[in-house]
Symmetry: C2
Subunit: 254 residues, 2 copies
Amino acid sequence: MTGAVPTTTWRQRARDATTEEITSVARELVARDGAAGLSLRAVARTLGMAPSALYRYFPSRDALLTALIIEAYDSVGQHVEDAIAAAPRDQTCTAILAGVHAFRSWALSHPHEYGLIYGPPVPGYIAPADTEAPAMRTPKALLVLLKQALANGVVRLPIGDEELPEPVREALGRIEGPGGIEGIEEGLSLAAKAAAHQFWGMLMGMVAGELFCHMPPQLTASGGAFFDFTMRRALLAMGATPTAVAASASPRPA
Amino acid sequence: MTGAVPTTTWRQRARDATTEEITSVARELVARDGAAGLSLRAVARTLGMAPSALYRYFPSRDALLTALIIEAYDSVGQHVEDAIAAAPRDQTCTAILAGVHAFRSWALSHPHEYGLIYGPPVPGYIAPADTEAPAMRTPKALLVLLKQALANGVVRLPIGDEELPEPVREALGRIEGPGGIEGIEEGLSLAAKAAAHQFWGMLMGMVAGELFCHMPPQLTASGGAFFDFTMRRALLAMGATPTAVAASASPRPA
DNA sequence: TGTACATCAGTGAACGCGCGTTCACTGATGTAC
DNA sequence: TGTACATCAGTGAACGCGCGTTCACTGATGTAC
């Protein structure tokens, strides 16, 4: 066992370690100064290496940015998935609440990284397609829960597809593949898709509002109580049964 | 009449004109390259003047940024107020819908300016207190409408203050003065404040989602139909009567 | 009304800075025989 | 196992760039007598 032939050469492993160190330093720089402040030279400086050396690892600053974006998406995604996995699978909204609270707490503790992925695009930077799949982790995780809740009867959509305005029905019908939440949304009714996107919008709005100071600080300071209350109201509006919502547990305030 | 004594000197008027020209060029640069890309030298260049000349008008780059931020807030605010003013004062939610549609359409046509004021704070820049009042124009305008709707009976809050969780009640009770929506929120019940902030969060979330590509493009492309539908659902969730919502008109799609 | 002086918009050169990226190089690591 | 060669991580200097801000200046506009 211990003598297992290393599948990679020592050089390769050194390379991987350095790559990891670079992205890690870059992540800290973004956390401190924001995405626009990320510079290859600053990374090289704190790493004690020549700026040109970074080009052995990333062909350009944008490539490094892309790596950071993917990392950030994976970081929130993992955080949310973990919280959901730790929640009981009962006939309540506990798991969904766990997910959204995880989303919020990640955002609060990684404000610049939140800005990097959910804020305005970095000027001059074009996100390559590789960022799409990681971007979908969080919405996917929440969508799976919605599906279960619909199957459960924990959520009963208050309106049917036929009550959607025609243009909305048409737009929702066209969502699939990249840009939508690939694959997963199969089997969802149009009304369910609508509810999902509204819930997602509410989530992003409340979190962005807190983070970027467009909500009164008193609400933010309530330890997530207002956020919790708001998401419960959103669940009710989405058709979650009042008893299920009332029976849901919330994570302890951070 | 025509011979009225000018209250300002010719130099003063020239100064005002130049100031206006500077902010106008700066606004265009922000619109093109985003807030982080704003540079004094670029402004001076397109104006054909020496970079140092700008220091006669703004003591620093940050001061110029502040002016732009205030302008942007005033621009949305004006846009929303105008749309509301043009809406009929009836027993429906038409005015509110006009306001939120105006907010969205402003955002879509001024994406970088939206990012400037509703996105992550510009790194290294600290917003002075002068930006607070303009920032409140839009939420204030919407809040006035909510107040009227509550008085009207067009909105009947689905829950009373006593049904709010204790920490939420406490946090809402502490909102007033700067940071909240000053003055205006007097006389609003706690539940009404909660509803207002939730509605505001939903609004910001949907718009940011569209702008920053975290909503499927098909929904965005529906000419505002999905947004309209969503805001109507939010109004219902807030306690607007179904008949009032149904009777409300929406602005023509942009 | 005319003159002397003060104000101040705008110039142009310079400061010191940090940036992304290229390039020829060195020396250590890996590989094929 | 030993040697010759190829690969490639990392260096250090240089490129050309744009940035915010300062400073001594000039000349036109305004003001007080």
